[in-house]
Subunit: 338 residues, 4 copies
């Protein structure tokens, strides 16, 4: 039997979501996200955020959320500050630049951008021959599976406020970040610190969809116009509303994220006990162990996963991802093979 | 009881689709549209097109399909030719222009673009101070519910070929166009005449999704890069593949379109019999009767529909839309009220 | 001898300008428009505008001024309202659209946009499926050589203020508009009515250059960043400053415009006396007589001019343009030939 | 007396150019670069390139040349490879990104991009989640005043050909690169190796203007449409043609570049003799000595120059630039002050 640690979007949705899609199916609802399902989902999320006047918009994917927010929030000469490993920099096929904006990248540490690097970006750009860095982009969890602590986020937020920068968080795996054993920032904390962010559904049990959250009132007006213009306004917007309504019912969102994290931590502990190290500390549902190339060849016969990068002549970095649907037996089988 | 003729995206999906989403839910599949469901759906569509080497890509909405195709197919100085009533011109919040391209519009007749107008666009533009018209955009059915006959499409295709223009068809309601009682062009005919088009799912029984079809081999390379860049590549691409697989099983796609058309034709016949005229000839699931304002006020109490435009001092144009889910009783109730 | 009525940019510059370029040549000056010549030119223009806090930026051409201003002033979903004959719509190769913005066009009358058409644009666009018209673009003189009266401009400004629209004037031939015998709006009047505009140099005696004037304080910040980003910030910005300084010394700018207008009016009067009519009333240095095709063939042997458009089977519209350098003998020769 | 080593665009033009502008002033010529002066200049440049079928277009500045070429040559998903110090990356206010394209940067050595880094860019990007690197951008001289040797260019060209990449050279100071004492590549060599480049006028004795050279026939069609769309087509295009005609008459272009280089080398030799080192080896008209902060304070009283960057606690990097107009006495005065 073949186990899949390739990613967290291989399955469909949590059964509750499939059921909810079926139950609501024959009901009529207004189009373009102005349906009762979406409104109810938004209310549940606002309660979780402790922020009644957040604006919430549902879109179909993470790249879309990112390009939509950046292009809506920035003026033409304004740029994004991110880590070199950021999804927008490496894995969105130039989506941000297509909307006209530059990304200024900094090395980051274990995938996390540091306040000092934001300060460096501000210092470096000083006249009209240069862009104006305006939006700080971080992913939580990061692209290396690490997690920002509350004090990390506070420090970043502080430098943003000092220089009138916007803080935007790519939350494709925000549930996993919040439920990480090293984490101490709740959704409500994040809503206090960020100007806007998105809560990922696709990689935490939904079939499709992310919830864009806008906290900063200056960023709210006309956002739906930008959505329409970028092809992000869905005629049957209910399809995402129904899913988020289900995810934020009885804590399902957190439960699924915890499961994914726990499975990955079990993997990480076993790998660590076997004497292997990691590219970045394992903190969420994505872990990056360093394995001998020979072991990788062997493992590849029974398990699916990405070989992330070369480590040295004889070793490579693997990426192992667990999801809401990963089973104990898959983890056990993997650990037996190393 | 309140009946809804507002649009064709108020309900969820056909029950078969909901069932298919449930049945496939726990199966693992590759991400980003490279899953077996999407491949099977593409195969079924290709069979229908009679074109084995068409490229098929599934995206989440019509505006996205349009902006993606136009921006992928055109060079910066190339423009689109469309009718003034075209969706891209009026109802996509400037999506095409956001990607950098101009739309050259012509009046059209009953929402249909004419070969003579394409010729006029070609003649008018002749040097480097002007754009180069390159892509002819038509919607079938049109935004006024009318339908291009096969000979209309052949005439447009001919002028396109003569001037090396691309023919692109917005098929948000292509099923309804094909099954219109006035129509005589099959999907296979369209695949012979157009360079690219999309087959709409959202407005014909799917929960979400449109199938972009690329016939012209020059337009195929690197299309997935453009998809990713515009946020159109879905992590769980299977969600659309599964639906189209269902729609093209046993002719469901045609059946749903026929039902929508039939309901609208029943409405149109009754309205015609009652002595009212239409903004454009009723030919598909969207009809545009001209009603006295007083009648519109009365009807609005029991039925939901758009008042499309003012006709004269005392009359306005209503838009009535039927869908795969419209019931006979709704039609009957409406006709009794006029 | 061959006379040229083709355009107003066939010669070099007025001799005073050439002299000024020579006289200042060895002086050192700061780059990028922050030189004393540019500052002095700006001061002279501000005095003429009666507006000390206008922002003035010198750029190399009209299309650049237009695309720069529109893309700097508008948000992504905002559009331009213009006449169908507007330069940005027809003769800038899609420059505005390349920056991401739609142009909503209206027929206009004799090349002039009417307040009613602006109102129509506002009424037509009402939700997030549509763009938001935000900037009214007019050219003065228009592309048909006609001129807005002060009351025309006041009426347009009034509707702009009512709906919070920006009024922008393409002044490629603003000198000719101001000095037109039908005109009654001064530069100071225009500065009171428009949010931004440009004063054309290239077509009124300069070698190169237009002066962008920003009146509305909300449009001023970061404009130089936008200039740099669009390639509009010249390293030796002095080259345009020196020329505008000369043009606004002792009324040279008005003198050159008057000469061009007078030559064209002499032409127009002679053509009128000979019994020919015009596409639009002759009001500035561009006139559009309707001539029999045979006469056009004959005239083409001795004179250069554009055949603007077909009028009917036997007649066409010619465009005749006079410049600061047009000589009486050319006008006389032309009038003798008709 | 105050000497200026701030840049090479503080003066006007070489006197021959001013004279030529005057001499040609009253002659009539076609607009938009289709004048005899521009044609003659192009012919002279082609002769120098040894390439009769190069396409030559004159534009007003370097940023404009760069954004125009990149946006004309690339498809939306294609990106630029450059050094981190590249002008397009740092000092063009996001111009390339505004046209929709990403820049992938690599550290470079002394401002020069290395073939290995191009190879790295190619290797790193492999699927549709990433951009496709397509155009290699180098500046010659570089932003640090260093110069590519012929073998450097050959090695870069080789890797470009291997991977079907385009080689584009920003030649703002190409004259200075060719006449550098360390250089061995002629204009003809460059025309053999690059797909396109520009020959800078503004920073080598012209008032305004750069000559864009397109060698690769696939890049030639419709370039003037792109020029118009970006505001780069000048109505009185002659203004640049006249200057380049003069620059390429009797080797003036080389003579001016040599003078600028020689002045800078004299400076560099004196600074070296005084025991100071440089950020990058002095090879052209821009040099970057490392001076104690106290010396910089003192020098700043009598000389104008940029403090480029901090070197360490007590030392900073100065940028000293010489031009075609720099005088021996300025160099002598500077050397006496250190």
């Amino acid at each position: 039997m073949h186990y899949n640690f390739r990613n967290d979007y291989s399955e469909g949705a949590h059964p509750n979501i499939i059921k909810a899609l079926g139950n609501s199916n024959t009901e009529q609802a207004d189009g373009y996200g102005e349906d009762k399902f979406s409104f109810e989902a938004a209310d549940k999320i606002k309660a979780e955020l402790g922020c009644n006047n957040a604006d919430i918009h549902f879109v179909s994917g993470g790249t879309q959320a990112n390009l939509l927010c950046v292009s809506s929030f920035l003026k033409p000469y304004e740029s994004v500050i991110s880590a070199q490993t950021a999804h927008i920099e490496v894995h969105e096929a130039g989506a941000i630049e297509f909307t006209g904006h530059k990304i200024n990248t900094y090395p980051g540490i274990n995938g996390k951008l540091c306040p000092e690097q934001i300060q460096e970006a501000v210092n470096f750009h000083y006249d009209e021959h240069m862009v104006v860095p305006k939006l700080v982009f971080i992913s939580n969890t990061t692209e290396l599976g690490t997690v920002y602590r509350k004090k990390d986020l506070e420090a970043i937020s502080e430098v943003c406020k000092k220089y009138n920068l916007l803080l935007y968080i790519d939350g494709a795996r925000l549930g996993q970040a919040i439920k990480s054993s090293v984490a101490d920032a709740s959704l409500a904390d994040i809503a206090k610190l960020a100007d806007a962010f998105y809560i990922g559904g696709t990689k935490n049990g939904a079939l499709i969809g992310e919830a864009v959250i806008i906290i900063n009132p200056e960023l709210k007006p006309y956002f739906r116009y930008n959505m329409k213009q970028k092809g992000a306004l869905l005629a049957k917007g209910r399809i995402i509303g129904i899913q988020f309504d289900e995810l934020f019912k009885n804590g399902l969102y957190y439960e699924l994220a915890s499961h994914a994290n726990n499975m990955a931590m079990n993997l990480a502990n076993g790998i660590d006990a076997a004497g292997y190290k990691f590219l970045a500390p394992p903190e969420s549902n994505q872990i990056f162990p360093v394995f001998p190339n020979k072991l990788i060849d062997k493992l590849s016969k029974d398990f699916e996963f990405y070989v992330w990068s070369k480590y040295d002549e004889n070793n490579s970095v693997a990426r192992l991802v667990c999801s809401w649907a990963t089973k104990n037996e898959a983890v056990d089988a993997f650990l037996k093979s190393i």
